[in-house]
Symmetry: C2
Subunit: 443 residues, 2 copies
């Protein structure tokens, strides 16, 4: 490969590769061409002296690292950010969120909500996310316009949803959605999302899983977010949620279970043996008082775990840096063991771990030649990031989304020096303010 | 009072007074003169039309609110930020922090560390803090230069400290410290800080308390940070820590106990009846896996509780916005009750609550005429703060330190549009990097 025909070179800065070897390269060079990482090394090495690239990014005073992977979002819920807080999960969901969704979710709301959510995510270092909501087809158009990488999943539930007032048409619409976007992988990867075992009948759960298997796509569902779910499913079907889903044949290594706060030791054995993956959303589950997932135990058993923020109505932000900080701390304190969840472990969970959960680890999660160029620069020349002893610790415990200076997704610069290139930020904020004004007026 | 002779007017913006009535004023006016708030109202009201003030601050697109009160810091520990993480408290303290302090803490280190810490605090919305460390006299010189409001406490322990190699001279030095600074209240308020019941003998605890009573100053100590402390004190003195201190006559309404993670119901009765105050530091205690303080229970009993970050070696930042977010969430999830700690309750804890704990509530904590002008502006024209339904929720769950645009302490603008006026930020960072380089080299 010739050095002089790269599209972008990122020069200087401390590179965290997050590869299996976890190399850290000082005064680094990363070469990008045609969306791929084509060179990783040290400035001055390997003939990196006569570079003639189209674009040079100075990474002095920066940590260069893989973009963060948010394994669970409901993007348009930014429109409900702060609308109903400090409430129990079921009261929040059934008395506030579901009614608001029935009234106010439409194509315009999801497009504009998703666009603002992506602005927030890019500005806080996320390059890939996994979304599930209504009108996912429209959301995906917004994703495509914003140039983010995503797993986009069409939602299913056994009640009429804003996008599918006639239940029997849900699956046909979802199939059209998959057909439309399946060729865009690995930028855009369609999937199916059954809301939960308590909102989806066994028939729905099974039919959607079969359709997902046919299409060769991921199948997601919320599982064991709060403790009551155990009694609900026990009363309804005579089995625990995990046993219920196991009996239905739902679980396999293309299944992502979200939350899993009340997973038992037996449940984890099931997950480990069948390769079921987990999305861990500590802040949302703390705020809803839903519980703390036994993630250290899951990881001991080799279960793939990625980090996620959940939707903005239950967090209330999409900042993966905050989420990493909380993830590291909550497991320490609940186990009274500060060694269970190190900064490095959490940073892996938010990069390579998330990539594995989404089935994208061949493409993203680390900075290595041949991988897609999803890269962020974190500005460390700041008082709260001074001094610097340990990059992993600094990123997890002290850095925050606002420290992300530049973001590259699939080899395209989507944000530089905090300026977004693919989203009109003022318009995005104004549009969502308009939607919120209608929600307030409609109350 | 005439309108035309104010020093500063803050105009426009949504004002959260945090007064007893918790008024929220849209398109507000705050007038400042001679360090005091002299007018609070709505733009256009009460003849606020012909203002001729020296300085006008445009608060459009901002929340105007009292500066945050951080009730527990060890400022110079910024020099140890990220030096030793993911370790148990006692291993962290005795094998890492105490040895590093013995080697590297000196007047230069504390001055420069404190200066960088204050830069970080001002940039994240704190206007008042309560510090305890070695060479507190030198730290206080840095505080005075930075123009922050602080309770500064000279530390005591039964081992030779970097500032007091001869134990018998500790109290005399501390008395000189108090004499030097006592006249600077309420900008600078000296206090005494006994490290803990396990590092201070009964004699030290009692002698220092007597000296504090004589001087009429606050007495602070770390208490029940981790569970082992109960056994340590039981084995050594035959009593629980709280009973031990109660028997020694330490407790009164001028005592601030820091952490209190393992306070029992009986302990809380003691605190409530004697007026003992509490500094709550959730993030530090989570990171050290020390425990979660029973704050909702304390508040039910009327115990005064303020929020704090603790030192940077155990958090690892001084951002009170992050601390508020965590405080709200950790109590919800540990009690599995999302109503125990509302956003409003937490914001009170970080403003008026902290002011009460530090005995400064006559002067600060709310925006009311006659109070000192300690005020911050939070820029809400940002994607992660859009839309806005509820200011309290937004500030606690979505805002972060980096959103603080402007800060006024005692009527002086110390930061405007993210530029610091009283601290040379580049020099502060460079100085601490130099100290860290020596620490790394000395290892």
């Amino acid at each position: 490969m010739r050095d002089d025909n790269w599209d972008i070179v990122i020069k200087g800065g401390t590179l965290l590769t997050m590869s299996a070897k976890m190399e850290i390269i000082e005064d680094s060079i990363v070469g990008i061409k045609d969306g791929l990482i084509v060179a990783v090394g040290q400035n001055g090495d390997r003939g990196f002296t006569n570079l003639k690239t189209k674009d040079t990014i100075d990474a002095s005073d920066c940590i260069v690292m893989p973009g963060l992977v948010n394994t669970h979002t409901h993007l348009p819920m930014v429109c409900f950010r702060g609308m109903a807080d400090d409430l129990p999960l079921m009261e929040w969901l059934t008395n506030n969120i579901f009614p608001a969704e029935a009234l106010f979710v439409n194509k315009k709301m999801v497009y504009e909500g998703a666009t603002l959510a992506m602005a927030e995510m890019i500005l806080s270092g996320t390059t890939t996310f996994c979304d599930g909501y209504f009108f996912e087809d429209t959301i995906t158009e917004a994703v495509s316009a914003a140039g983010m990488r995503a797993v986009v999943s069409q939602g299913f539930a056994d009640f009429a949803t804003p996008d599918n007032p006639r239940l029997e048409k849900m699956l046909a619409a979802a199939r059209r959605f998959v057909t439309r976007w399946q060729s865009h992988a690995p930028m855009i990867t369609p999937a199916y999302f059954c809301h939960s075992p308590y909102t989806c009948s066994p028939e729905t759960l099974v039919n959607v899983k079969e359709a997902a298997r046919e299409a060769g796509i991921l199948y997601l569902l919320h599982l064991l977010e709060n403790k009551d779910e155990i009694d609900t499913i026990l009363n309804r079907y005579g089995n625990t949620p995990v046993q219920h889903l196991l009996n239905l044949g739902i679980f396999d290594d293309q299944t992502v279970a979200v939350h899993c706060n009340w997973l038992t030791s037996d449940d984890m054995d099931v997950f480990a043996s069948l390769g079921v993956r987990v999305s861990h959303n500590p802040e949302s589950s703390m705020k809803l008082a839903a519980g703390v997932a036994p993630v250290p135990e899951m990881m001991k058993r080799g279960i793939k775990v990625g980090l996620g923020t959940d939707g903005c109505a239950s967090n209330n932000d999409l900042d993966m840096f905050r989420e990493m900080d909380t993830a590291a701390k909550i497991h320490k304190v609940t186990s009274l063991d500060p060694t269970v969840m190190s900064a490095q472990t959490v940073l892996k969970m938010a990069t390579t771990g998330g990539a594995r959960v989404l089935g994208l680890d061949k493409f993203i999660g680390s900075i290595e030649t041949g991988k897609k160029a999803d890269i962020i620069l974190v500005d460390i020349n700041q008082p709260h990031l001074t001094p610097l002893y340990n990059c992993y610790s600094q990123l997890v415990y002290a850095a925050r989304g606002a420290d992300v200076k530049t973001s590259i997704i699939n080899g395209k610069i989507v944000m530089k020096d905090r300026q977004l290139f693919t989203i009109d930020l003022s318009a995005a904020m104004e549009n969502v303010r308009g939607i919120a004004a209608n929600i307030i007026a409609g109350k």
